[in-house]
Symmetry: C2
């Protein structure tokens, strides 16, 4: 077991995205987004009509998205169009990272134009939301439960920070600071303020990001207020509904478990409700815990972390099995073919995990961040950056495919902004140390106090586990370098300047090297990647008698294009010593795994329903590819949890 | 493969229930119903308020059952209370068989009183339905789609025939003949008649039963009319809805697949919709096919039979996997724990199967009748006759238990009337032969023309496969005796008067013995019952890597009371040669099966979610009991499809 205990003083913050330049595996994926996805995202927002709503110089448009319908047939008070600001914000955030990587005057002009629209929307008091300024004026702050109003503000704050970091332009940042000031004045415990918080968490973590960037303590305080206020009695959403004159029990989501406002956050012990909301809440809580050194929040988060990762998470890092609430159900309810496992939820789990690292490196969190990143999150984007998964099942009979767009287009910009920002997830920087949470070919420019450390990784990770690092320094500097040893790795080896070396300390699954570093110091970390089988907890009925095949951080799957139809006819042995890795240049230069297996001989859909004869077996080879790459070739069946049996 | 082709002239009809006296296995189950269940059924109908609605001498009661609610929040046009006549009718039918078996003046007086109530309800024109006479007068025949009006008439016809056969009393029979005459005048193709039929099939088979008992051809003709008219265009339910001034598309069941009126019956090829409705329709179609020698109906039924039994039936004979429509979904969609598999649906499958035997013995049908009887149907009734299953899952985590009553109490009287009438399912009698479809200790008095054959079975079936039969005749008589050899039996042996004998013909899975029978002739049929494993079609994903254990007609299951918790940790070998049978006197004198097995060592709910270590195994013994007996002892987990693996 890894320890959760860290020295109290350690505060690790992520570097800004432009401070890490990605190459190799991630560099290619980012380039696909820079070269293609970002314009696709922009174009589809335009086609959807989002800019017509945001641009205050255009006529106020009709409502274009259908309203949800209540059980009694009347329109609900919320529709998808209400949170278009957030979709556009994530596009701006993605574009910011793209512009940093590759200048693009056309894209920049488009983003500047959108930023001008938002600036033009801003009211004299600082309020700024396209829906409530243009579509439903006069109704601001009347339905925090359903209308995503603070959520939209949060995404725009994130966009503002990103755009400022990447381009140096302050316009959106200034707009959002004014809006944040307005929100700060509007919400709080004082007379005349609203003791509310958002039905869809997001603004909490965004305020921390804004506070870190601007140095404004009030934003951190407001984030803490929203976190602390959530779930207090009387429930704000009850009060607010009464003010609107509606019955709060007549709500289609029925229970405040849905938005995690059923209890004060420090009393919550079970991960419940809408998965993305839950993860964004916990992310904000973790940020506040880091900034305020709040152990009571961290303790609550540790309980929730255990709850999620030991009872409610797919092996892909996907979370939220049910479509009905886009979220959680019962413990161990992890069906494969009907898995919802929204791309946004895996992204959000990464976000939470990365923020749990704010109080110090601990692979308890970083392992899961990597698991969600390389599997349930990255699966959401096709190799070429043009197609998207919204839900990420672990089994498909052949009917599940990437789509071009979605009426609720949250996932495409979410995975795009995450991949383009991956550098900021790789590192944590404290006042006296650097933690490497993720490996990947890259160069980072990291500041420890006034010292700049240029840290270069040369590696084919995740295809290969050897990582060569070099330290660039203007002058020798004393700090701790912490290198994560993934939990899946059994015989990690480390060398310094060509000599095998023992770390000064092994703690929380990290090699800690405390020394006076010299310019040109070279480290080599070898993380052997054996093919391994994972067995699910037996309470996960869908996975009984099955294994998931993994190598390094990648969960593998079988696809029909490699194995023919009827993937459930393939049975791999328990003993994987016969497994081979096979380079697969045609599929993103990945490594496939081939395992000597058996194939049950199935009649094709014409046999008896029940028969006393066990199906015959023939020898076969099961070929598996990384889960995140599935449905990039010929469409067909897919299966993560392959059947396993004795080596007969 | 068994042949479906039979000589055209053969018409096999079931004996009346009182013509077969049951002993042994079925005798005990019937006695539990006679001694206990029938009064439970009566009492609960009284408590529910059914007699207040039916008795015309009492004040018209309030509506006691909640109305269904439409999607728009308004009450639907149907509630469960509308078909209370049918529930009471099935109680009368059960009571009739009980009274035949054991005189009970109290029960008889209660039934006579109810019959008087129904007689008192009858209108001058013959109409008779408690709901539309007393609760919603003036609305008769306005909503055949939803209101179960002809369905209730059908069940009362069945009750009338049963009560007449068992007691010789004609009152209810006469009432129902007058009502049948009224229905015959109301429905039909002529001017002034309604070209309709019932949304819930039942009256078709009931009219055949009434016609056979009374000799009235018009009832058979009307049954044929209802069958032929179903699904013709324009759809009657559309027309009727328009007459009521409602939009037929605003219907909560959405599609006429639900009640099998989407196509004319001869064009239907897929078993769809509400399972009980479908089976009752096919039962009526089979009766009409038998009575009219209608090959076009029989051909359609053969297609539907294959569709059901090769793609949509649980190994227990349970059918209709989904609760949402109480019916069918997609092919091979047979989840175990969430199986709906209503007791009524398995009973109704037996009814259909038995009627497919009307055109001659064929184990293609009789095997399934037996499979549904001993498993998915009989499971609906506790050993002592006091508790009931409505839905019959094939796996339970420990939360599924027999109940005392149900707001829609269709199943308890349905399984009770079926078990008490089991003798009529055992035989088919034609003008020149007797077919034995089911075995069980009993004495039957069967009429071939003017000859009475007393056929006695002495056997411990289904516990043991040896069946000794003797023929009682006043004088020698020439006829064909057809003995079913179940498909599960591999080495059936036959002897006549102590000498091994070959049948004159083996056809359709029956031994046919054509001879001049003498009083006292003795037959011995030996049907060896080996323990066997059944493998499901691989498209049934829930059953992959699993087997169902069977012996004779009985499907077995594991229960927690015998095996401890975590039944999914038990893995039985593919080779069952080590299986033993063990008498289990404490559980209805059944035979348990014990199989040397392995048990995975599971951490109890506190382990990691995913782990590279395969669970250890220890040796164990799996004990299985007949599925129909589950939940008669300590409550706990239950599992039919046990995990199976190599004999390691």
């Amino acid at each position: 077991m890894t320890s959760h205990h860290q020295p109290k003083a350690s505060v690790f913050r992520p570097p800004a995205v432009p401070d890490v330049e990605m190459r190799g595996f991630w560099g290619e994926r980012i380039d696909a987004i820079v070269d293609r996805t970002v314009m696709i995202l922009y174009d589809r927002c335009v086609v959807a009509g989002m800019l017509d709503q945001i641009d205050p110089t255009r006529p106020v448009p009709e409502v274009k998205m259908p309203w949800h319908t209540r059980a009694d047939g009347t329109p609900d008070t919320v529709n998808v169009q209400m949170f278009w600001d957030s979709d556009v914000a994530k596009v701006i955030e993605t574009a910011a990272y793209a512009l940093y990587r590759k200048p693009n005057s056309d894209l920049k002009a488009k983003m500047d134009a959108i930023i001008d629209m938002f600036a033009g929307l801003q009211q004299p008091d600082g309020y700024m939301n396209s829906w409530f300024v243009r579509m439903q004026p006069g109704q601001r702050w009347t339905n925090l439960r359903d209308c995503h109003e603070l959520y939209c503000a949060g995404h725009l704050m994130e966009a503002a920070v990103a755009y400022f970091h990447a381009t140096g332009k302050r316009k959106l940042l200034d707009v959002m600071c004014r809006y944040a000031d307005h929100i700060d004045a509007t919400f709080g415990p004082n007379p005349g303020q609203r003791p509310g918080y958002c039905g869809h968490e997001e603004i909490e973590l965004a305020l921390v990001r804004l506070g870190r960037t601007t140095g404004e303590q009030r934003y951190l305080d407001l984030a803490r207020y929203f976190v602390d206020q959530r779930g207090q009695q009387p429930n704000y959403f009850d009060v607010e509904a009464a003010e609107r004159g509606v019955d709060p029990t007549q709500w289609r989501h029925k229970t405040y478990l849905y938005n995690q406002s059923h209890l004060p956050v420090r009393e919550q012990t079970k991960v419940v409700g809408h998965a993305v909301r839950a993860m964004y809440l916990y992310s904000g809580m973790a940020d506040v815990a880091t900034e305020f050194g709040d152990d009571s929040l961290t303790d609550a988060l540790k309980v929730l972390w255990e709850d999620l990762t030991s009872k409610q998470m797919y092996v892909t890092g996907g979370i939220g099995p049910a479509a009905s609430n886009e979220g959680f159900t019962e413990y161990y309810d992890l069906p494969n073919e009907s898995a919802y496992a929204e791309t946004c939820a895996a992204v959000a789990l990464m976000m939470w995990a990365s923020r749990m690292l704010g109080r110090g490196p601990d692979r308890h969190y970083a392992d899961i961040m990597e698991q969600a990143l390389y599997n349930g999150a990255l699966s959401g984007l096709s190799i070429d950056g043009s197609r998207f998964f919204y839900d990420n099942p672990l089994e498909s009979s052949g009917g599940h495919h990437r789509w071009i767009w979605h009426r609720c287009p949250c996932c495409p910009p979410n995975i795009a902004r995450t991949v383009t920002a991956i550098g900021s997830y790789m590192y944590g920087v404290s006042s006296d140390g650097i933690a490497l949470h993720l490996y990947g070919a890259s160069t980072a420019r990291l500041k420890i106090g006034t010292t700049t450390v240029n840290l270069t990784q040369d590696t084919r990770y995740p295809t290969d586990g050897r990582v060569a690092m070099s330290i660039g320094l203007e002058s020798p500097s004393h700090f701790t370098l912490s290198l994560r040893v993934p939990g899946w790795c059994e015989n990690a080896a480390l060398s310094l300047n060509g000599q095998a070396v023992k770390p000064d300390e092994v703690r929380g699954g990290y090699f800690h090297l405390k020394r006076n570093w010299q310019d040109g110091d070279r480290l080599e970390l070898d993380l052997p990647m054996d093919v391994r089988a994972l067995y699910a907890h037996p309470a996960v009925k869908a996975d009984l008698g099955r294994v998931a095949i993994a190598r390094g951080p990648l969960i593998y799957c079988t696809e029909e294009v490699d194995n023919g139809a009827d993937l459930n006819a393939l049975i791999v042995p328990d003993d994987l010593s016969g497994a081979k890795t096979v380079p697969l240049p045609e599929l993103n230069n990945t490594v496939a795994i081939e395992i000597p297996a058996r194939r049950e001989q199935w009649p094709r859909r014409n046999g008896k329903l029940y028969d006393p004869h066990k199906p015959d077996h023939i020898e076969a080879t099961a070929r598996l590819v990384p889960y995140h790459l599935w449905d990039n070739r010929e469409p067909g069946e897919m299966l993560v949890w392959v059947r396993a049996g004795a080596g007969q």
